[in-house]
Structures are given as structure tokens and as C-alpha cells.
Symmetry: C2
Subunit: 161 residues, 2 copies
Amino acid sequence: MSNEIFVKMALDGWQGQLKSTDTLLNKLSDEQLMQEVSPGRNRGIYLLGHLASVHDLMLPLLRFEEPMYPALRPIFVDSPDRAVADLPPISELRGQWTAVNEKLAAHFAGLSPDEWFTRHASISQEDFEKEPHRNRLNVILVRTIHLSSHRGQLAFLASKG
Amino acid sequence: MSNEIFVKMALDGWQGQLKSTDTLLNKLSDEQLMQEVSPGRNRGIYLLGHLASVHDLMLPLLRFEEPMYPALRPIFVDSPDRAVADLPPISELRGQWTAVNEKLAAHFAGLSPDEWFTRHASISQEDFEKEPHRNRLNVILVRTIHLSSHRGQLAFLASKG
């Protein structure tokens, strides 16, 4: 079994979830995204900003580059929904979500299969030698699961039927 | 990169989602599971039966054995929630959910890393030679994403704070 096949398996899952999320977001109006996904739970706008920021933070985690939108983190990762009164406009968050995923895709395209199995930024080279599963490709698996969880919640904002 | 490491990465994700789901299900009362996860959406009992059946159907999909609870499929996979009036009791579904996951774990423990990269039951040997990513381990990746999506929805049944 070659590394290429593992990489394809992981990236297929990632891209599938991104595609489903984009299809859903394109169906949701800005008004729908201002609603709570379920009574008393996060609003759509918060989940959109949260996902944009978490994916933005994959840029340094995967040792590609600095985050594009570090200002999102205190609002959408370090704070719960409604803790910050003034959120960026949804149109801006939609653009950042797209830009971050395109930037990630460009980096992915330049990575060889073997490079996927090198360490991510949150583990030292020393520890990585003992725990080689904590590699960049594992970040993709973990973040795909994270995206899926929130996509399943955002789906409640769409009209039924 | 050895096959063992990729198998560990995929199974870590699977087990992590199972553990989170079990923790959540243990917190939810039968009464809570009778509620809709969000207004007009699936009830908890439906999602529990759905997950139990989808995991049960992994037994033949992974070429291990026949499903343990084939009667769940017409109710929880082929039909939407509320299409079938008489559902099994929640206590029974909880037990089946646990039994199916234990059965899968027992089969996983007997599979060598190389065996994970053989075909699953929905692809012919001939097609598999052209599409080797459609292997048993990929079923784990796909089903982990599926579980995560519904776990994120079931979480809305839990009390806040």
C-alpha cells in the first residue's frame, strides 16, 4: 500500500465535507445564518466564523504559513457565541471561508505524499519520533471530523423538504 | 510510512467519535432521546437506531459477517423518522448500539494492517484493482465522518451549561 493511497483517502474525505458544506452555505441566506441552528445553540454566523478560523489556523498547524485572518480566533475560537457583540459581516466571513480553503488546497497540491507524513507544528521532532501518527495527514482526518459535526448542525438552518 | 500507522490514525478517529457518542448517550435519558434534536428534525431515538443500523451494516460491508440486527434497516435507514409508527424500545436500541460496536471492535482486533487495505464488499475485485482507495479502512473514515455529523446533532438534546 503506497502513501499516495492514504493521502487520497484522507483528502477525498476532506474535500467531500468541504463540498457539502459549500453547497449548504450557498443555499443559506445571510438571514438564515443569523438564526440559531437550534433553540439556545450557536448561530449560523458563529459556526461559519468558527470553521473559517479553525481552517485558517491549519495554515500554521500544517507548517505552511501564518494565518490569513488571525483576528477571527478571539471571536470564533476563544469565545463562545454572543460573547463578542460586534461580529464581522456575513459576506466577509463567507469570503474568508472560501479564501482559507483555497489557500489550503494550494498548499496541499504542493505537498508530496511523504511530506504528509511529517510532523505537524504542535509536536516536537523528538516526540514525533515516538508518535509518528501525529503527522500532517492526521490533522486532515481530525479536521474533517470537526467540519462534519458542525455541518450536520448548520443543516438545520436549511428549509425542510 | 507503514500501514500500521495509517490504520492507527483511522481507528483513533473512529474510537474517539464512538467514545464521545457513548458519553453523550449515557448522559441522555430515554425521555430526552424521544425529543426532536431540533424543531421538526429527527428524534434522538431515530438517530440512535439509524447509527446502530448503519454500524450493523458495516459487518457485511467489511466482509466480516451478516448483520446482527437486519430488522433495524427498514425502520432506521430505508425510512425517515416517523414513517414507522412502532419503534423498538430505546433500551433495546441502546443495547444493540453497544453490541454492534463491540462486535466490530472484535473483528478489527483480528485484522492485520494489510487486510485493512483489501476491498470492501461493495466493490468488485476487478474494480478494486483500478480504485485501491476503496478499501476496508476507507469505510472507517467515511463512517467516522457520518457518526460525527449525527453526534453533533444529538448533542442538542443534552442540557446546556
